[in-house]
Structures are given as structure tokens and as C-alpha cells.
């Protein structure tokens, strides 16, 4: 089966986020960038499916040249090919713009795909928009936030996380699936994989090749503010006898914080 996996380069989860106020953007200096964690589950799932059923795993990132680093990591994990869809625009926080780029790239460059895998959201923009939008634009069914995926011939059965349980979704292929933590345990790159990945060519797809009009590439989102939250003040610390501390805490929760 032919699988496409979409990955994004994001700051790691240990990052402290600082704001460049004039440009309403994130300060990138000093940040350590990684493959968005949920995307790694998507890559792993694709590799497992290829091992079980044959076919190819191709990894795609939409972004600036720097995204090549995360594509190389995916090649080192075992992906067959990687492609950069080059988009130099700054972060728009508009999922629809990215979804249009991806949908068009799939139509023009990657026809014959059976499964499109994504992380359930990028760790950063946290939009959870692009995969479902791509599915709609391509007329494909979707299962988002998936922790179990089974492929049986032309159909797939996915378990997706919902409040207080799981939802079982039956899809006909091709389909869009987004990975949640718990779907699998992503493998580490091997030294051999890293060496092989270094030698691989990563073709660049230019935005102009996709034939999208200015309206389709315009962002619907206008950023009017970006800020870090006010720091919470450290509160009252109780020490000493556990029973007394517990009693005093409950009194404070009732009389001062008024939450109980």
C-alpha cells in the first residue's frame, strides 16, 4: 500500500516560548526543533503497515528549507522517500491554507495514495485542522485522534479517542488518519538508517508548481495579538503535621478560594 505521512518541524516540548512583539511571532533563536511528536506516531504506523503489507512510505513536509532536517529523521527511521513542499511564508495559523497546499500536492504529485497519515495536531499551533480539511478537500473519509488502526483490504477500522471512551470508525480507503499517542511506540533511528538517510535526495516541490491562486494561498487568519500568559503568583505553602495541613488547606479552599 502507498502511504503518505505529513510531518511538521516544531520546537520541542521542553521549549520556553518567547514572543517577538513587533512581528507578533515566536522568537526562534535558541529553540531546539524536532519532528512534531504526534507525527512520529504517524511515521511509525506507516512503517509498520509497510512491513506487514508491502508498498511505500513517503514523508512530506510543508515549510521552509529547515524542514529538511525533520524529513531526514523520518528517512532514518525507515521512510522510502521524503519531499519538501517549499513554503517560505511565516506561520499564518491558518489551517486551511496549509490544507489547500497539501490537497493540491496530493492530487498533482502523489496520485494513487491509499492512506494519508498525520499527527493529531502539530505541537505548537495546536490547531488540529489540517488533516480533516485535507480529507474534505479531497473527498476522503477520516478518522482523527486514533489509537488503533487495522487495514483489511479496501477498508480500515480505527479506534479514536472520545470523552470517556473510544469510537470505532469504519472507513473505505483511501482515507485520512491522524495519530494519537498510544497508537504505537516510535522506533529509534539506527546508525545504518542515519547514514543511508544522509545520502538520500530530498526533492523540493515548489509552491508555484501546484497552481494555487492567490485567493487560495491567502490566509483567513489575521493575528491581532500574541502574548505569554501572566505568570501565576506562588501561593500559600503549608508545612508540618499532615492532618493539620490538610484541615487548613480545606479551610482555605472553602473560605478563601471558595472553590468547594
Amino acid at each position: 500500500m502507498n502511504i503518505l505521512v505529513f510531518v511538521k518541524r516544531v520546537p520541542d516540548t521542553e521549549s520556553r516560548i518567547r514572543i517577538q512583539h513587533e512581528t507578533k511571532s515566536i522568537v526562534e533563536d535558541g529553540l531546539n526543533f524536532v519532528v512534531s511528536p504526534y507525527d512520529e506516531y504517524a511515521v511509525e504506523e506507516a512503517l509498520k503497515l509497510r512491513e506487514a503489507k508491502g508498498g511505500t512510505v513517503r514523508v512530506i513536509s510543508v515549510g521552509r528549507d529547515e524542514a529538511v532536517v525533520v524529513l531526514r529523521k523520518c528517512l532514518a527511521m525507515g521512510a522510502d522517500e521524503a519531499f519538501l513542499v517549499k513554503d517560505d511564508s511565516p506561520e499564518t495559523y491558518d489551517g486551511l491554507r496549509t490544507a489547500r497546499i497539501i490537497a493540491r500536492a496530493v492530487e498533482r504529485k502523489f496520485a494513487g495514495t491509499d492512506l494519508l497519515l498525520f499527527g493529531k495536531q502539530s505541537v505548537g499551533a495546536d490547531n488540529s485542522q489540517v488533516p480533516a480539511m485535507v480529507a474534505e478537500l479531497l473527498g476522503l473519509p477520516q478518522a482523527t485522534v486514533v489509537t488503533k488502526l487495522e487495514i483489511d483490504g479496501p477498508s480500515a477500522t480505527a479506534l479514536r479517542e472520545i470523552e470517556g471512551g473510544m469510537e470505532k470508525v469504519v472507513l473505505s480507503l483511501p482515507a485520512v488518519v491522524t495519530a494519537q499517542k498510544g497508537l504505537n511506540e516510535p522506533r529509534y533511528e539506527t546508525l545504518k538508517g542515519i547514514m543511508a538517510a544522509k545520502k538520500k535526495d530530498i526533492p523540493v516541490v515548489k509552491l508555484e508548481e501546484l497552481g494555487l491562486g492567490p485567493d487560495e494561498l491567502a490566509s483567513q487568519v489575521e493575528v491581532v495579538g500574541l502574548d505569554v500568559p501572566a505568570q501565576r503568583q506562588a501561593g500559600k505553602i503549608l508545612q508540618g503535621d499532615p492532618a493539620e495541613a490538610a484541615r487548613e488547606l480545606v479551610r482555605l479552599l472553602r473560605d478563601e478560594a471558595k472553590v468547594i
Binding site: 474534505e136 470505532k168 487568519v221 502574548d227
Partner: protein
Amino acid sequence: MIAVFMEIRDGKIKKSSLEALSEAKRRAGELGVEAAAVLVGGAVGSLAPGAFALGAAKVFVVENGSLADYSSQAYALALAEFVGQAKPAALFFAATAMGRDLAPRVAARLGAGLASDCVKIAVKAGALEFTRPIYAGKAFLSLTLKSTPKLATLRPNMFPLGEAVPGAGAVVKLDVAIPDGAVKGRVSGIIKEDSAEVDVAEADVVVSGGRGLKGPENFALLRDLAAVFPRAAVGASRSAVDSGWIGHPHQVGQTGKTVSPDLYVAVGISGAIQHLAGMSSSKVIVAVNKDAEAPIFKVADYGIVGDLFEVVPRLKDELKKALAE
């Protein structure tokens, strides 16, 4: 008109959808327009009074046998049809599993902008301004949307539920044709977790445990503590989840859920930056940790420095007494 998609689970409108409707009503009032509700399903018209009670001027009902089970494709088709006919200025969803699955499909179908997981909505210069966390709450983005309609998903527990007052308004039935072959995926069943526990993202109180619990069996202490409250859930730090002590649906933080309960109790959690991102918007934070230097105390409103195994059972007893009064 600001319309709100009403999510139905177990034959009832979800509380988070009613919160979204309450917010729509408030913002619609500022804009001088009406709030409306949209019910989609097999036979759902009987739920209209619940939406009127929260101030919907109209309730749109889209009923069709093929909408009885949720399908993002079929529901997106139904909502796009609703938008085409009713022409709302904005369409809100609760940012639940269903809302997050559905809203982007509707947005793509309409070519409309979507603000995900909003925690605040304001009217500024006659336009809706949406505020939403990015980097799991390490930063907040405020944005406007250029499209009509403007779509948004609203985080549960962030927008106060209006007071329900029996009311009535117009029920508008819409017919939507779902062509054969247009729907290639649908829900075939729901597997509920054994317990009747509320989800961490929807609970009023979250009691979370970390590495300080020392093992999976000790989460029982937290379950006992949570059971004291009417709508409480048990959460966990990433290290507790990665150690296999509790399932990932319970994880709070940047690779788990972002929560904003009335009360968050962090037990044996040191407070890594990626955990703090997920819970710092809680209204009141309590920390129990034996290490007085733990970063969690920097964000806690109240902290107890002590052995959690001694503190938690006593805290449970004291809370029980206080809540019984």
C-alpha cells in the same frame, strides 16, 4: 446570527455545546444579532427546548436517517447546507472530540477560517476576536477571521453556562440530501471506559498524579480523592503515563490534554514545563509534594510540603466533611 452546533451524546445535548451556546448568546447580544442552535441527527427535534432555554432565538433541525450515526463527512455536508440556507455570521462548536473532528471539515467545505480551541471571544470594533492557546498554553494568540461565516471551536469549561429559563422560539426544519457514495466513513460503535468517570478535559475538579506516586496501584488514592467531588477526573503527568501506570487519555500537558478545571490538585508532580503548560489556566491549583523546591509550587495557589501518602487520605477525609456540611 451566531449559530452553534449542538453535539448530542447519549440522547442529550452536551454541556460543552450549551456553554458554547451561552457564549454565542452573549456575543450575539453585543453584535445586535440572534443566537441560534443547530441540531443534526436521526430524530433530534425533541431536544430543541434545551437550546431555547439558553436563549436560542431559533433552533434549526436537520434530520435524516443517514445522520443517525456520526460521520464527519455527512455532518459536514449537513452543516454546509445549513450555512448556505441560514447564512449565519459565525458558527461555533464545542472543542470536543466531535467538534474538533467536524469543524475543520465544515470550514474546508465552506472555504471559511476556523479558530480552534478558543478560550475567550470578544467583540471589538464590531468584529469577533478569538483568543486561543498555542504551544499548549505557553502563549496565547488573538485573531480575527476574514471569511463569512467565521468558525470557531470553544474549549469546554472556559465559557460560563447561562441560566436555563424555559423559553420558546422558532423551530426551522431543513432538508438535506445525503447522496449515496458521499459518505465513505462512519462510526460503527462506541466503547465506553468501564468507569463512569468524566473526562479530564471536562471535569470541574482534576486530581493528577506523577512520579511521586511510585507505582500504578497508588492511583487508587487519587481515585478515592476524586470520588469526593461530583464531577472530578483523575489526571497524570507524562512520566506517570510513559511508565505505564495509567492510560494516555489521562495525561495532562503538552503531549496530553490542556485542562482548565475549577480546582486542579497536583500530587507528587514536580511540574515540568510541558506539564505546567497544560494546567496553568486552572482556576485554583493545589500541589502536594515532598520537595519544597519543586517547580509546581511556583504556580500553585496552595501547597502542602509533605509525604503524599500521609497527606492525601487526610485531605480526602477533610474534604468529605467540608462538602457534607
